[in-house]
């Protein structure tokens, strides 16, 4: 059937599942609260990394909640001020010929080096341009970390990290790769803070994910993380991953929450028989938080829901992997940080405001959302 605009308008028949289990052989992160173990412990204590800072950095502007790496300024430097922290993080990554033919690297980010592009446009310093495109920024990282050329660069806003995990899993499942490295990063700049401030969701209020209140707000945070994936083996596995793109509106979801359900429900079916908890996306926006909490409540009514962006801020394209590293620490220890920064009432009685100390959980669903109604989720559990 062809429409007046010339498009094929046959009815949609989307299939909702995608599954390639892989071993999560190693996973680490850095946030404003430290590495994965430090971040996990700080979240358990209810610490909040977010602090009010001027939205345009040294140029001033309204105070907004940002969680920057210790000692890092919002104004980008040349070379980027975040590279030493990335190098420290990657010392935790197992050695392998990353970027070689059988060891692909998947680099994901929402903003790459756009902070340098912003600094160039303000100050005119040409050296900032060495990091100003995704390709240039990743080439810099690859050079610093000694990777080969087998690098795939992905950018899908705040589900970027999840796409890296999906593609890595596929290459392993089809035996194109022996191991795969997923590296994800997003470091804040006036560019991204100014953008979210312009959308009015980054304001002077601290975020309170899943809290039923009169206004919504988010915080933003620096973040980077890595994961090494291998063929399924003993230990922790990513058992299944899903994606769904609603393509309804750039910054809003349909009111029925169908996209959340389309992404979550296939994972819950795969997890049948397991005792799960949920690490939600939970930025602090009202409608998305309500839709997400309700969708999880319907799909897995027995599972507690937590979100950590009320402390870490939204680490954007890296958030799926940063929070996976913290979720892994939580599963290992049986100590799950609560929804830091939020208070009752919440959108669902399953939202856990305080930490959960329970080693009987044997799986976690980690979910992410992004511009365009993009959804991505994964099931992390024992093999």
């Amino acid at each position: 059937m062809t429409s007046l605009l010339g498009w094929d308008e046959s009815p949609s028949t989307l299939t909702p599942t995608d599954s390639s289990p892989v071993q999560l052989a190693a996973c680490g992160c850095i946030s404003a609260l430290g590495n994965a173990a430090e971040t996990h412990e700080a979240l358990l204590r209810g610490e909040r990394a977010l602090a009010l800072k001027p939205v345009y950095g040294s140029s001033g502007g309204d105070p907004v909640p940002l969680a920057l790496l210790p000692g890092r300024s919002l104004d980008e430097t040349s070379p980027p001020s975040w590279m030493p922290a990335v190098k420290r993080l990657m010392r935790e990554c197992p050695d392998a010929p990353w970027g070689g033919a059988r060891h692909p690297v998947f680099v994901t980010s929402s903003n790459f080096g756009v902070g340098n592009l912003f600094s160039f446009r303000r100050a005119g310093t040409l050296s900032h341009l060495d990091f100003g495109t995704p390709e240039a920024c990743v080439a810099f990282i690859a050079g610093e970390l000694g990777w080969g050329g087998n690098v795939t660069i992905l950018s899908h806003a705040c589900v970027s990290a999840n796409l890296g995990l999906v593609l890595a899993a596929r290459q392993i499942a089809l035996e194109i790769a022996d191991e795969a490295l997923v590296f994800s990063f997003d470091f804040l700049s006036p560019f991204v803070a100014g953008g979210f401030h312009a959308l009015k969701i980054l304001n002077s209020e601290a975020p309170a994910p899943y809290q039923a209140r009169d206004f919504g707000s988010i915080g933003l945070g620096d973040g980077a993380a890595f994961a090494v994936l291998r063929k399924p083996g003993p230990g922790w596995i990513i058992a299944s991953q899903t994606m769904y793109n609603e393509m309804h509106h750039f910054t809003a979801f349909p009111s029925d929450g169908a996209g959340f359900a389309a992404c979550i429900e296939p994972l819950v079916r795969v997890a049948s028989g397991r005792r799960l908890w949920i690490k939600g996306h939970g930025t602090g926006t009202l409608e998305a938080g309500r839709l997400e909490a309700e969708a999880f409540g319907r799909a897995c009514p027995a599972s507690p829901l937590v979100g950590w962006k009320g402390s870490l801020g939204h680490t954007l394209g890296s958030s799926g992997l940063v929070e996976l590293a913290v979720a892994l620490e939580s599963l290992r220890s049986g100590r799950i940080p609560g929804t830091v920064g939020s208070e009752a009432p919440t959108f669902s009685e399953k939202v856990s405001l305080g930490p959960i100390f329970d080693s009987s959980f044997d799986g976690v669903v980690c979910a992410s959302n992004a511009f365009g109604g993009a959804h991505a989720a994964l099931l992390l559990c024992h093999a």
């Binding site: 605009l5 495109t133 087998n150 795939t152 950018s155 899908h156 806003a157 100014g194």
Partner: protein, 221 residues
């Protein structure tokens, strides 16, 4: 060996055509709002997707090294009064999202690649490994504004789209094969992203490396 049959090939070699001309040329095929507001890359991608995109589309792989650089440049220049509209459309994968939102068409997988020395190879591998029976592969660049002078944006506009399928049918226009290169040669000079576009636009066969890991065989029927 990775293999798919391709069909519904659409290409647009807009080259140095100015933005107003591209908009005037392409806007009639879209809703009025899209025709007014879409980025130039969104218009180009929407135009070439016309053949390949149908309501059953389950997976789209999109490749662009630079993305919406004209919008990005305008957004940078909007400070200190940052524009929310420019911000959201400057985000890398927005070209396809603009088209799909205009059509109100969900898609299970949308995988945007953002550059790299072997962008064509990475996009091909990604599309071929997607589990969907039919995958739309598209991409392109818009000619930049002030960023072009600093090599931060493309110096030409182009776009392509094609559908990849596991089996041959009446619509098949050719076959793509990726063969692993066993003896990797670090000196391999893969075809560039614009060169990949030229192969599609010129309906040309090709056999040669697209990365240090993969040899491409592109055969038109």
């Amino acid at each position: 060996m990775l293999e798919r049959y391709f069909s519904c090939v659409g290409t647009d070699d807009a080259g140095s055509e100015d933005a107003a001309s591209i908009r005037a040329r392409l806007r009639d095929g879209f809703t009025p709002a899209f025709g007014r507001r879409a980025t130039i890359l969104g218009l180009l991608i929407g135009g070439v997707l016309r053949k390949a995109l149908d309501r059953n589309c389950e997976a789209i792989v999109y490749a662009s090294a630079y993305g919406e650089t004209r919008t990005l440049a305008d957004f940078l220049d909007s400070f200190p009064h940052a524009s929310p509209t420019l911000f959201q459309t400057s985000v890398h994968p927005s070209a396809v999202q603009q088209v799909m939102i205009d059509r109100q068409q969900p898609v299970r997988e949308y995988i945007p690649l953002a550059g790299g020395r072997c962008l064509a190879a990475r996009a091909l591998v990604t599309a071929i490994l997607a589990p969907a029976e039919r995958v739309v592969l598209c991409g392109g660049e818009e000619r930049g504004s002030w960023m072009t002078e600093y090599q931060m944006a493309s110096d030409r506009s182009f776009a392509f789209a094609l559908a990849l399928q596991r089996s041959r049918d009446a619509s098949t226009q050719g076959r793509i094969r990726l063969l692993p290169i066993v003896e990797s040669n670090a000196a391999t000079d893969p075809i560039s992203f614009p060169a990949w576009f030229e192969l599609l636009h010129g309906r040309r066969n090709f056999s040669g490396p697209v990365s240090a890991e993969w040899q491409l065989e592109l055969e038109w029927t």
